[in-house]
Subunit: 244 residues, 2 copies
């Protein structure tokens, strides 16, 4: 009813160097001139409404996206109507590398809540990667981190029992939030139980039971999507399968 605010795909004027995420999503060591080039190539603060798709499988690869606020999930859908969630992308994360193989996206990317992204279109991407070495390296690093995240998830799905999967996930989110300057002790999960269960390869009921268990054990406190970590040590200790 209120809303004089235009809220769909409207560019705003937040400059990259004022953006709190610049240190996360931009490669370091650009010259002033290079930074200007990068900035001018980026479309800023595009809004994706909750449940809308940032892109869908088979869409042409138009851009790489940086999540500024909100969150995105990527997933594969199967012919029989099931889905497998591949990743959750939070502020500071880059999305869109799945289309590198053949210039078409190979999965869906959907907003879990109203989300703002910055967008670097692929033409500019190619230009910048061609002419700026640190840009190329920064992107390689990002792709490598993406591969690393997926390896971690494979380990989770392949080796861990359900309780350990959840414990590892929560520890990961906590540490991630902390490293971004948010609270690692208390945070909201942006995704519904259904999505988290799918991501962690278990039934919703099992996930719910594991939340309850961790709460009964006094390790966390759960209030719907608000999680408080009471004992980070014990939570982390449940992750037996940490990488050597």
């Amino acid at each position: 009813m209120s809303s004089s605010r235009i809220s769909t795909n409207k560019k705003t004027t937040v400059a990259c160097n004022n953006c709190s995420l610049s240190e996360l999503c931009l490669p370091r060591g650009l010259t002033k001139e290079e930074l200007t080039r990068l900035e001018s190539a980026i479309d800023k603060a595009i809004k994706i409404n909750k449940k809308d798709y940032l892109y869908r499988r088979d869409d042409p690869h138009q851009a790489i996206y940086a999540v500024k606020s909100g969150s995105i999930k990527t997933s594969l859908s199967t012919l029989d109507g099931e889905e497998q969630i591949l990743g959750f992308y939070l502020p500071g994360d880059l999305v869109g590398f799945d289309a590198f193989a053949n210039s078409k996206h190979s999965c869906d990317a959907q907003a879990l809540e109203d989300t703002f992204v910055c967008e670097l279109n692929m033409n500019s991407f190619h230009d910048l990667c061609g002419s700026i070495a640190s840009m190329r390296n920064g992107m390689m690093r990002q792709v490598g981190m993406e591969i690393g995240r997926e390896h971690q998830l494979l380990l989770t799905l392949g080796q861990m029992r359900t309780e350990e999967r959840l414990a590892t996930f929560l520890t990961g989110i906590s540490e991630r939030n902390q490293s971004r300057g948010f609270s690692g002790r208390e945070f909201y999960l942006p995704m519904p139980r259904h999505d988290l269960a799918n991501y962690l390869g278990m039934a919703v009921e099992t996930l719910s039971r594991m939340f309850s268990r961790l709460q009964e054990d006094g390790i966390i406190s759960v209030n719907h999507r608000l999680i408080e970590i009471l004992s980070p040590e014990r939570l982390k200790g449940l992750g037996h399968h940490q990488c050597r």
Copy 2:
């Protein structure tokens, strides 16, 4: 005893344009001059003995490797001595992208059998990516394919029952062999049951039972590691969770 052949890390003189894998591992559309540059940057036919490591976690990122013959498995090891196999790399595949995140390998890469690889060291890699656009694009495509493979495995581990996992795996190997000009009907699996079971997230015993089941159903014929696919259609039909 015999062996006048030196068999360790000895360069041989197979030129890239004579290599049957060139069409697989090289980006298309290089000029003659660019191809020469690439060729001279590549160390050819380095032998990795069975069970030796091509690299280990935390090793510095020295090169990208192309499997010429033999096979490589990559894996994560956990503190409690478990491992999760992340991928099997067969002739024509590229290995080593796991070190993109921080110039150190994030997993182990071990030869399943005596294996020959070609090696493109990272200095040359950076040079070539900087100066040759099609080289850059080819590498991006390869990284994208790597991400796609991992997505597929996540779907397998997250959604499929054990029989379907094996069926999907065998169909994949079969199609891959076919597309490489080998037989899609009959082939040897390069990995022991133990490794395949780990990769597919199940116990060895379960894997063995699933092989037996598929054989009893007349879908495949199993003779240790030699697999013959009797009914590709029925095998593929067991993969309910194909991507939309």
